[in-house]
């Protein structure tokens, strides 16, 4: 899990959720790329992030794209966040004895626009949180930052600030995360995506 590096975080706000990740892709201590995607959109009200081994992040994102496209064709409606979380969990547990080295965070708004976040370990144990979830090499650092900064009922703009600061300062204490960040805020009407320039070291 510490081979490529990278961290993700998701937080609940008032009728909104935020998902953020750093942008580094490296091979142990060498940084190879500063625009590696770790956050993915399922549909306009559901995002997820994947932290861990780069190849598994990419493979899983393609698997989930296929599974959710088929879901939409069969069900004729977009997938709910809670359902998607279980889909991710099953996909990971299928490989219980030879797992994908990736830890997901899921964030979205359900059909009643209720915020939803959860995270999982690499074999699919779901952690339903009522505040925030973290994953990746700066996970412990993110726990500290989120615990201090998060409060209930943050408006979208406030949530953006809190999420950005939590991520930026957590990855600054981790050698293998950082080199930029991307933050998505999901509200019932729109998605706001901002790319942050942090410390590039």
């Amino acid at each position: 899990m510490e081979y490529n590096g990278g961290s993700v975080v998701a937080m609940k706000g008032k009728n909104c959720v935020a998902v953020a990740a750093d942008r580094r892709f490296g091979v142990q201590f060498l940084t190879v790329s500063t625009d590696f995607q770790k956050t993915f959109k399922v549909h306009d009200k559901l995002f997820y992030g994947l932290a861990g081994l780069g190849t598994d992040v990419q493979t899983l994102s393609e698997k989930f794209r296929m599974k959710t496209n088929l879901y939409k064709l069969r069900e004729e409606r977009p997938i709910e966040p809670r359902t998607f979380a279980h889909l991710v969990s099953s996909t990971l547990y299928e490989k219980r004895f030879g797992p994908y080295f990736a830890e997901p965070v899921v964030a979205g708004l359900d059909k009643n626009n209720e915020p939803f976040v959860c995270s999982m370990d690499l074999i699919g144990c779901i952690n339903f949180a009522k505040d925030f979830v973290v994953a990746g090499t700066a996970g412990p650092n993110l726990y500290g930052m989120c615990e201090s900064l998060w409060r209930e009922d943050l408006e979208p703009e406030e949530l953006f600030e809190i999420t950005s600061q939590a991520l930026l300062n957590a990855v600054d204490r981790d050698c293998i995360s950082g080199w930029g960040a991307v933050v998505h805020i999901i509200t019932p009407d729109k998605i706001i995506t901002r790319t942050l320039k942090g410390r590039m070291d």
Binding site: F29, L30, T31, R173, I176, M200, D201
Partner: protein, 212 residues
């Protein structure tokens, strides 16, 4: 040869020293790590062993601190017993003796640089195994691997102080951008007959390059 023990503090590092006519310029990043956690982001890796002799430390934080302390002691004894400051070569030889004899237990990559009245500015690089090499400029630490090409292409004999400072600052900034174990800020020092001038470059004032 030794390696870092689990949990041991590591000066991942990029260190550098450049000779010029009249002295030396030395520089280092400021990151210390334990595993991937950044234990200290404002470390001082430029350590005085005598009035006009400094060493740049890379490798195990504990090993290099211990060795530098011992050499500092030896240099003080030398100056008392011989009535004059040791030359940079002598200080480097003291480091070499310790690093070579204890090569199995230590992980220390050190660059010794300074000014003395016999040879003006000198830079000596001491490798992990304990070999000593006098060079016009020396780079060390894990981050140095990323800047060999840049340094070879940019270095010229007979640069001025300011050119050396710019060269050192840019090289270290490039290494910090690519190496995970190097980062934070840059500490520089100019050592001449007049004394030691220390310069601190905060993270937001680093020279910037292509950032992909």
């Amino acid at each position: 040869m030794a390696s870092l023990k689990p949990g041991e503090a590591n000066l991942g590092t990029t260190i550098m020293a450049v000779e010029f006519d009249g002295g030396v310029v030395i520089g280092a990043d400021t990151r210390t790590t334990t595993g991937s956690y950044i234990a200290n982001r404002v470390t001082d890796k430029l350590t005085e062993v005598h009035d006009r002799i400094y060493c740049c430390r890379s490798g195990s934080a504990a090993d290099t601190q211990a060795v530098a302390d011992i050499v500092h002691y030896y240099c003080q004894m030398y100056s008392v017993q011989n009535g004059e400051a040791p030359s940079v070569k002598v200080a480097a030889a003291m480091f070499q003796q310790l690093c070579y004899t204890n090569k199995d237990a230590l992980m220390a990559g050190i660059i010794v640089a300074g000014w003395d009245k016999y040879n003006a500015g000198s830079v000596y690089s001491i490798s992990l195994g304990g070999s000593m090499h006098r060079q016009g400029f020396a780079i060390g630490g894990s981050g140095s691997t990323y800047i060999y090409g840049y340094c070879d292409a940019t270095y010229r004999d007979g640069m001025t102080v300011d050119e050396c400072l710019q060269f050192t600052k840019s090289a270290i900034a490039l290494a910090m951008a690519r190496d995970g174990s190097s980062g934070g800020c840059i500490r520089l020092a100019v050592i001449t007959q007049e004394g030691v001038r220390r310069i601190f470059v905060p993270g937001n004032e680093l020279p910037t390059f292509f950032e992909g």
